[in-house]
Amino acid sequence: MTHNTLKFIMLTMLVASGLISRAHGTELLPVVASFSILGDLVQVVGGARVKVTTLAGPNTDAHEFTPRPADAKAVLAARVFVVNGLNFEPWAQKLAQSAGYKGGTVVASKGIQPRTMAAESGHAHAEIDPHAWQNPLNVVQYVANIAAGLAKADPSGAPTYQANAAAYAKQLQDFDAQAKAQLDAIAPTQRKVITSHDAFGYLAARYGITMLAPEGVNTDSEPSAKHVAELIRQIKREKIKAVFVENMSNPRLIAQLSKDAGVRVGATLYSDALSGANGPASSYLKMMQHNLTQLAAGMRLNP
């Protein structure tokens, strides 16, 4: 008897919760993304069914982000919180905890085999490279994870999310094939680039580019005189012409270094944050397109 009553209560609750979520379905699903690139991906997957709030916006260094009360409020109001993981945004977990967030968290990089940064001078041990989105094929996994996370919070939207993710995955694969073809046209010995912040490890590995950087993976490490000297020697010896700065770091060291080595600094690359709406990297795909076009143009100048 009591058993049946319990069953009945549970059933009614299930039905009720189903009804409630269906009633919610007409409203937009509130989602919070930790930084601008994820915000773009969530918007792509969620389409018209979600309302995305991005915490670390365009041109903002997500490594150094300090959340404000409005951010905690946004997280609390959200039903899905999308983070990159791989220790990219250590503040996100703390924010969710302190805000008392109870909803689901999607770790977008889940299932990706992370690269480790080689233990180089200044780094005591090998670090995991969190910038996994720099390989478009990893982003196929990102959008699949996001679609699954959104579907969990909004089951009735699942087919839409799946379809959006699949369509985007197709775009990513097309882009990857194009990029591969574009770079295969450049001789492997030419594919050498100097950047200010080695956030492009995944990109370099995917397209067979050698990236030389005078700083470690974190923006706050400082190079040694020996490292800079070797870099200048290498630029001169191999006559590397492709030198780039990245959108948020101090450009002076790399500008000065390339001046000493007698080369010109190329266009700004985007690694950890999108540009504003009018910039060349207003969405993830535009960012990748911009970076690869610039890199290819620079590398063609190499002997």
Binding site: N59, T60, T66, T219, A225, K226, A229, M248, L253
Partner: protein, 294 residues
């Protein structure tokens, strides 16, 4: 012989960035280290650190008005630093608070103001990270800035020297001696604070916080252990700062260590040696102490 050349001269001969780092460091050693001696005498050894935060509101305001322009942000930083230091000086004259206490309160307020301004802007970039330089990234304008500030401040310090010494050691005498005359004691104090601010801010922007504050303070602190006379302390501080800069750069080159921290580490090693060996240090004291016979 050629080994010695490779060890000591080669790196500077081959690389322009090493030469620029050396010249900037030597310029800062000449002007900032003596100012550091005066700061320790006035019990304001921690002014440099405070000031590295106090520049933030000026930098943020310049960023809001002119965007990511380094000269504008640099000028904003100087202005904010001058305002904070000048206010601290005025408060110490007008109230019972000492310079260091009023400075502590002011720099925290300035830091808070700076963070608020940046947050209002929406986009959160680490402005100071972009503005502040590093020893190996010294560019031509940065070099000119540091060299210019150093030249001005060495001459200004010479001109201020008498008044500043009196103001530091015996402010009451200075006040009494100047009663009824045009020049006022606060002129010395304010000019000195201004010199410190422009030296530090030029140092932040060219070499970074650690280098600017470290080269100003560590040699000054250890120089005080060596001599009784102030003039000798000033010279010793400059010499130690220059030695630390030169050896730090060379070590960073040969041992593959980050330059700024290595230079400051060398200054620290000189400090440790001074603590042990100088007349005011530990060993001479132990040796001089008469043995007690029971």
């Amino acid at each position: 012989m050629s080994d010695l050349y490779d060890l000591l001269v080669g790196p500077f001969a081959e690389f322009a960035f090493m030469r620029r780092a050396l010249v900037a460091t030597l310029a800062l050693a000449m002007s900032a280290a003596p100012l550091g001696v005066f700061l320790t005498l006035r019990r304001m050894s921690l002014l440099g650190d405070a000031l590295s935060h106090a520049v933030l509101p000026g930098v943020a305001l310049a960023f809001m008005l002119f965007g990511l322009s380094l000269p504008a942000m640099a000028l904003g930083g100087v202005a904010a630093g001058l305002v904070v230091a000048a206010l601290a000086g005025v408060i110490s004259r007008a109230t019972a608070l000492k310079e260091d206490a009023s400075l502590a309160a002011l720099y925290l307020v300035a830091l808070a103001l700076g963070v608020t301004l940046i947050s209002r802007q929406g986009s959160q970039i680490d402005l100071l990270h972009i503005l502040f330089g590093s020893a190996l990234g010294v560019d031509e304008p940065g070099l000119l800035l540091v060299a210019g500030v150093a030249s001005v401040s060495v001459v200004a310090l010479a001109a201020l020297y008498r008044g500043l010494v009196l103001e530091t050691f015996d402010p009451l005498f200075l006040a009494a001696a100047h009663t009824g005359r045009a020049s006022r004691p606060w002129v010395w104090q304010q000019s000195f604070l201004m010199l410190v601010v422009i030296n530090l801010v030029a140092g932040f922007q060219t070499l970074g916080t650690l280098m600017a504050v470290g080269l100003m303070m560590i040699p000054a602190v250890s120089a005080r252990l060596w001599h009784e006379s102030l003039a000798a302390q000033l010279l010793n501080a400059s010499a130690q700062a220059a030695a630390a800069g030169m050896s730090g750069l060379l070590l960073s080159y040969h041992l593959d260590t980050p330059s700024g921290p290595t230079i400051i580490g060398c200054a620290g090693a000189l400090y440790a040696l001074s603590l042990l060996l100088s007349p005011g240090g530990w060993l001479p004291r132990i040796l001089k102490r008469p043995h007690r016979v029971a």
